[in-house]
């Protein structure tokens, strides 16, 4: 994986010094909270309901065991012994003191990590396919391109005060595992006539107005990648709405101008910027690529001993096909029955780090589904790995099952939330484990957001739940039919909302409809797409 050189390290060190100074000025009262807010936000520091929250960037979700150990140490030293992995492949700590923030950033900088631009109206951490470099279906590893974009977007002088936050995802396969088209810019690395290039999708997003990004350029040559991205951003910075923060994301601009007019303006700006010579030399991409070269894979057994049914179930559910047939990618579920989705204790993080070192070439990945994956595990090592995971409560075999719930922090932490997400996720996961239905349902992606900002990706859930405030009472709207995969679609609301107990029953009801109506091999989403909303509505409301 990527390693900093002296320049990257100097940038991160400079940021630590700068933030220490800013925090000091705030503590001394030289900065008002209003003046400090945008500065701390660009360092990932939020003021939540009970304390500061620090969000640490994990570029394209990739980290090594040393870094994971430090994340665990931070949880122990500065928080309450745990951390929370997020839907943008980052980690956040919910109980941070402002006085400690500088020290935490310094600890992170020592292992080439930071919290730069993990919030604020700027270009956020670049996300990518969690199976990058391991997936059998990718054209190339997308991470060198993500790394180039990371450097370009770090402290970009023109784009630190955009109309709103800006999220970029990079993938390199037709199967979209990063919800690429639900990003402000989604980039798919593609091959055309033997040449690699970038296909740009702009203007996707979730939030209160979910939109699927249209393709605005199907092939940007690699020696113009940064210039094209810069053109996309400049047009947005110029015209993005600033009068209403709910209409300020680029999706609204692209929607209001129309994809064609937005594209025309980008192309005009692009032509101008090409003359400015802002593109990094192609040698830079060539310098980055070897950091992501394949590790030394070895041939070995290609099957497992399935005599232990629990192990066999975990293999079936939690491992993903690898490009080398003696390996798989193994997903560590952070969704134990009744647990808090995405939470891991310091001990669990230390263990995951150790296992990454022992069994996955010292590498692990954070998934946008709030799980962790060991990308390159020898099939021969799977049983030993699983045994160790089981012993630590990390062996839940529920990847993409109803218990593998994505949920935002909700009203338990977040000052924006209207309703709690975590207790609801816990209760649903308990219900479906206890009644045995999870095993019958197969792939079913359930996602919960505690407010309309949609951090829990409810629009993209096969079943989505949105918490709203109804006259001071928490209320939950149910939606069906969303997907973030290559068949990207947005869920539709079933009808009037439910209270907490009611929405759990409602999830039970819609899954009953599915079980009664499904045809051979159909997933919940397939049945919904075939029979439509009516049978579900009828069961829920009549």
């Amino acid at each position: 994986m990527y390693q900093y050189d002296q320049y990257d390290q100097a940038m991160v060190d400079a940021r630590v010094a700068e933030f220490r100074d800013q925090a000091q000025r705030r503590l001394e009262g030289k900065l008002s909270e209003d003046q400090f807010k945008p500065l701390r936000l660009m360092n990932g520091l939020y003021l939540q309901l009970h304390a500061y929250m620090l969000r640490v960037a994990i570029p394209y979700g990739t980290l090594n065991s040393t870094q994971m150990h430090v994340l665990a140490d931070i949880a122990d030293k500065y928080d309450r012994g745990y951390g929370h992995f997020t839907t943008r492949q980052n980690i956040q700590y919910n109980w941070i003191k402002l006085e400690d923030a500088g020290d935490i950033l310094a600890d992170l900088a020592k292992v080439e990590m930071h919290a730069i631009q993990t919030s604020g109206n700027c270009i956020r951490n670049i996300s990518s396919d969690h199976f990058a470099g391991a997936a059998q279906d990718e054209v190339v590893d997308p991470r060198p391109y993500a790394e180039l974009l990371r450097q370009w977007s770090s402290f970009h002088p023109e784009f630190m005060y955009l109309p709103r936050k800006f999220k970029i995802a990079v993938i390199a396969s037709d199967t979209d595992r990063a919800a690429m088209r639900l990003h402000d810019i989604g980039i798919q690395i593609v091959e055309r006539d033997g040449e690699i290039g970038a296909s740009f999708y702009v203007g996707g997003g979730m939030g209160r107005t979910p939109m699927i990004a249209p393709n605005i350029r199907d092939f940007v040559p690699l020696d113009q990648l940064i210039t094209y991205a810069e053109a996309c951003l400049r047009v947005y910075n110029r015209y993005g709405r600033r009068d209403n923060k709910y209409k300020a994301r680029i999706k609204i601009l692209v929607h209001e101008l129309g994809a064609e007019e937005y594209t025309r303006q980008v192309e005009e700006e692009f032509a101008h910027l090409l003359e400015q010579g802002i593109e990094p030399p192609i040698a830079e991409l060539e310098r980055i690529k070897p950091y992501f070269a394949d590790p030394a894979f070895e041939d070995g057994p290609k099957t497992v001993d399935r005599s232990d049914p629990d192990f066999a179930l975990w293999v079936d559910r939690n491992t993903h096909r690898h490009k080398h047939d003696s390996y798989v990618s193994a997903v560590i579920s952070l969704k134990p029955v009744g647990g808090i989705p995405g939470d891991a204790t310091a001990e669990q993080m230390h263990l995951m780090a150790e296992l990454a070192k022992l069994y996955s070439f010292d590498e692990c990945r954070v998934m946008h589904t709030q799980n962790v994956v060991l990308p390159h595990v020898k099939i021969a090592d799977l049983h030993t790995l699983w045994t160790k995971l089981e012993a630590a409560g990390l062996g839940t075999p529920n990847l993409d099952q109803i218990g593998d719930i994505i949920a935002c922090p909700g009203l338990d932490y977040c000052s924006l939330a209207n309703a709690r997400s975590i207790p609801l996720a816990q209760k649903i996961s308990e219900r479906f484990a206890a009644n045995g239905k999870q095993d019958k349902l197969g792939e079913l992606k359930l996602k919960i957001s505690g407010c309309i900002n949609a951090c829990g990706h409810h629009h993209a859930g096969h079943i989505g739940i949105l918490g709203v405030d109804k006259k001071g009472v928490e209320n939950y709207q149910l939606s069906l039919g969303g997907s973030e995969a290559e068949d990207t679609s947005l869920g539709k609301i079933t009808g009037r909302g439910f209270d907490e107990a009611g929405v759990i029953d409602a999830v039970d009801t819609v899954t009953d409809v599915y079980l009664a109506q499904r045809e051979d091999g159909e997933r919940f989403l397939d049945t919904y797409n075939r029979i439509g909303m009516a049978p579900f509505k009828e069961a829920l409301y009549d």
């Binding site: 370009w152 784009f159 630190m160 400015q276 310098r287």
Partner: protein, 158 residues
């Protein structure tokens, strides 16, 4: 020796920092609309909603562009300044309004060379801010060689 990147400039009234040696324009600036309607002024003031590109055909008449920041969080002025510099404008670009020390460095990178903040900055803080970043990733028109070029031995601006 003075370092034009980081040494705080001397300044006329109201302008706290100025990084140029030429005479300052001694008359008030006019709006972009007035300027385009055949004003004699050589100073123009850009508001966040103005399109700096409208000035490009007339750059040889301009000695001062003030870019107003009514609120620091509105970043349109950064693009405006860069666009002017990219078109070869060499006159003064002055940031006016809610301009804080923490934006100073980015503004310098985008082509601003004078600063007239509503609330004067602490000079030591400003000096420190300008010296924060030893190197930079991106290429702009500010003459700094980006890290990408340092790595590959190609001094873009040399």
């Amino acid at each position: 020796m003075t370092d034009p990147q980081t040494d705080l400039g001397s300044s006329p009234d109201g302008v706290q920092f100025r990084f140029r040696d030429d005479e300052t324009v001694d008359h008030a600036s006019v709006t972009v609309d007035s300027f385009l309607e055949q004003s004699n002024s050589s100073a123009v003031r850009i508001e966040p909603g103005d399109d700096a590109r409208e000035l490009l055909p007339l750059l040889d008449r301009i000695a001062l562009v003030e870019v107003n920041f009514p609120v620091f969080g509105d970043g349109r002025g950064y693009s405006a300044a860069r666009i002017l510099r990219e078109a070869g404008y060499t006159g003064e670009i002055r940031a006016v309004g809610d301009v804080l020390v923490d934006q100073l460095n980015n503004m310098r990178r985008c082509g601003f060379d004078a600063f007239q903040p509503d609330t004067p900055m602490n000079e030591a803080d400003a000096q420190a801010a300008l010296e924060t970043w030893p190197e930079v990733y991106q290429a702009t028109t500010d003459g700094r060689t980006p890290i990408w070029d340092l790595r590959h031995g190609a001094g873009r601006n040399e």
